[in-house]
């Protein structure tokens, strides 16, 4: 019994090391949080006042009333949710097709998908910019969402996942009189839910944190996503003035993502551990 217990207990040195690491990670977050509850005037005098009362909700109030942050938040939600939904739909369909259907050039196309994994965004962003300018898609939701739908990893991931589902199930469903659509929708797709969750969470986070493309594509403040909007706000306020407000914006911006993390904790950990498939 004692062996079992001691196996679960870390040596003291390791515990201390981990605590130190955690402290280093958490300190800036706590600092941000504290600053966000201080009045800007007080912080201008000395930011060390953040350690003592009085605290105020003033900064959060200004976000909700006077600023564009709510708008940016809405934009981010629309773009991220739109991208996630689009990626899940497209990758599921493509994954099913690559895993189960027999069509001309299937292997060649799949190789193209894999090659897509190797193309960095930097290589395509200029032509993409020109292309979107040509189509007049800049500074619009479709303009912000469409590039995110190109998801070679998602296609690859879903293909592998569909491939891992035994073909027996397809055959049983065929004998059960299922149409191809029923087979996909009622039998196979529900079995990919763990993969959908993993891919969905990562797509959402990636889209939420994306900075470069919205910076290029969104040109007016009412189309900014949070990342672009907050960065522009930071430029407007030199660190000395409005520090509390800036920090409140940062906290506010992370709330949705925090919620995603909390809800999908299991999937994220599983995906990180590389056990998402199977």
């Amino acid at each position: 019994m004692s062996a079992a217990v001691s196996r679960n207990r870390l040596p003291i040195a390791a515990t201390a090391g981990l605590l130190l690491g955690a402290a280093i990670m958490v300190t800036p977050l706590v600092w941000t949080l504290l600053l966000s509850f201080k009045s800007n005037a007080e912080l201008m005098r000395d930011s060390a006042t953040a350690f003592s009362a009085p605290y105020t909700l003033e900064n959060y109030r200004s976000i909700l009333v006077g600023s564009s942050v709510s708008r940016w938040l809405l934009n981010s939600l629309i773009v991220s949710l739109g991208t996630t939904a689009g990626v899940l739909i497209l990758c599921s369909l493509a994954g099913y097709a690559f895993a189960r259907l027999d069509f001309p050039f299937r292997r060649t196309l799949f190789v193209f998908v894999l090659l897509g994994l190797a193309v960095p965004e930097q290589a395509v962003i200029l032509p993409r910019h020109q292309f979107f300018a040509l189509l007049g898609l800049h500074n619009s939701y479709p303009g912000l969402i469409l590039p995110g739908l190109v998801a070679p990893f998602g296609v690859f991931f879903m293909t592998q996942y569909f491939r891992a589902i035994p073909r027996d199930l397809d055959e049983a469903a065929m004998l059960d009189g299922a149409s191809r659509f029923t087979l996909f929708w009622k039998v196979l797709l529900p079995l990919t839910i763990p993969a959908q969750a993993t891919l969905g969470v990562f797509t959402f986070l990636g889209s939420w944190n994306d900075y470069w493309w919205p910076l290029i594509s969104a040109t007016t403040s009412d189309r900014f996503t949070l990342t672009v909007g907050l960065a522009s706000a930071q430029m407007n306020y030199a660190q000395t003035s409005g520090l509390g407000f800036l920090m409140a914006q940062a906290v506010f911006a992370s709330i949705p993502i925090l919620i995603v993390y909390i809800i999908f904790q299991k999937q994220i950990v599983r995906a990180m551990a590389g056990t998402a498939v199977r």
Binding site: D168, L169, A172, L175, G177, K186
Partner: protein
């Protein structure tokens, strides 16, 4: 009345011919077992009937209608898969209802059929479980239940018992036999287990080397194997086959000389045999009895003694090196290395000619 008919089915995967002109007629409500070694095309044939594979040529008819161009779901057949293939995300009830919903069976009737099947299979209290929460034996029942509720004309079972442990397998075998009495449909079961085939089937189809080797009732296949392959494949331990040559003579029955010079008087009609050319004498272990050395038909040295309790199997070597399996009573005193005599019961002997065709004793008088 014929229900299923297979007419000259051919199937190749690439250059490999898997089924070569396979034909078969099956009566309604008949239970047929496809028995054969692994890779003999049993599953392929079953899948062609189900519509999961397409034959390169040949016809499949069910109750007189051609079904080979129909979608699997429209063929009025149900299949039980070797690995069950239950839908993991659905409850047992949903698994059974899925096919019926696709066929637009009214809700009330679906519930009724499921309730009835669940009762027969004794899984009434499992209906809301998911397959992942059940044991192998229970899943097997659900897979059978899913087939039963469809009320098909034909059940197709691919090695349904091979994933169960020995005890459960015997029990399920009995249950399959009982179940079979209740359903008004034919059953085809693929198996490589001859005990399973012998117990359950009305007729056994022996498959090997792309073809049907023999179709017959279990005892017919055991007592009158059509060829040397069937003779060696059915029966455990296998029939002994030793070289033999026809002795010239006048009587109605063949008399043969073995490789070691011993002679055996069979009841196989001399008329049907090739005049010369090599023969093989087929002897079931129960028709070869150990005897005291110097008595009996021939002499042999004991290689191995296998004591099974109720009987003892004696593996012995003839003077010319060929091996023969004999059967002795349970408390046999024979030991390895003994020199013994072998008393061959010629009345039960079989002869196989050069191309393997079997010749059997005239029906016992």
């Amino acid at each position: 009345m014929l229900s299923l008919e297979l007419d000259r089915i051919r199937k190749a995967y690439g250059d490999t011919l898997v089924l070569d002109d396979v034909s078969l007629g099956m009566d309604a409500r008949e239970f047929i077992a496809f028995l054969g070694p692994s890779g003999s095309g049993k599953s392929t044939l079953l899948r062609i009937i189900a519509g999961l594979e397409t034959a390169d040529s040949g016809e499949v008819r069910l109750d007189g209608q051609r079904i080979d161009h129909l979608h699997p779901g429209d063929r009025n057949v149900a299949m039980v898969f070797q690995h069950y293939a239950l839908y993991p995300h659905m409850t047992v009830r949903e698994n059974m209802a899925f096919g019926l919903r696709n066929a637009r069976v009214p809700k009330g009737e679906i519930d009724e059929r499921i309730a009835q099947a669940a009762k027969v299979l004794e899984i009434e209290d499992q209906l809301d479980k998911k397959p992942g929460q059940m044991s192998g034996g229970q899943r097997q029942r659900v897979a059978i239940g899913r087939a039963i509720v469809k009320q098909p004309r034909l059940f197709l079972l691919d090695e349904p018992l091979s994933n169960l442990d020995a005890a459960l397998r015997t029990r399920t075998r009995v249950e399959l036999a009982q179940l079979r009495q209740r359903v008004d449909a034919g059953v085809i079961m693929v198996t490589h287990d001859q005990a399973e085939a012998m117990t359950l089937a009305d007729r056994i189809v022996i498959m090997n080397d792309r073809r049907i080797q023999q179709i017959g009732a279990p005892m017919e296949i055991y007592t009158r194997p059509a060829n040397a392959f069937v003779a060696g494949f059915v029966g455990s331990p296998a029939m002994t086959l030793v070289k033999a040559a026809l002795e010239p003579g006048e009587g109605p029955f063949a008399r043969v000389r073995l490789g070691d010079g011993a002679q055996v008087e069979t009841r196989v009609s001399r008329a049907g045999l090739p005049v010369d050319g090599p023969l093989r004498l087929g002897l079931r272990p129960e028709s070869v009895r150990p005897a005291a050395a110097g008595t009996g038909t021939t002499e042999a040295e004991v290689l191995l003694v296998e004591r099974l309790g109720d009987r003892t199997l004696v593996y012995a070597r003839l003077a010319n090196g060929e091996e023969v399996t004999a059967q002795d009573e349970g408390n046999s005193r024979i030991r390895m290395g003994d020199r013994i005599g072998l008393a061959v019961d010629g009345k039960a002997a079989h002869l196989f000619d050069a191309d393997g065709t079997g010749h059997h004793a005239e029906a016992a008088a």
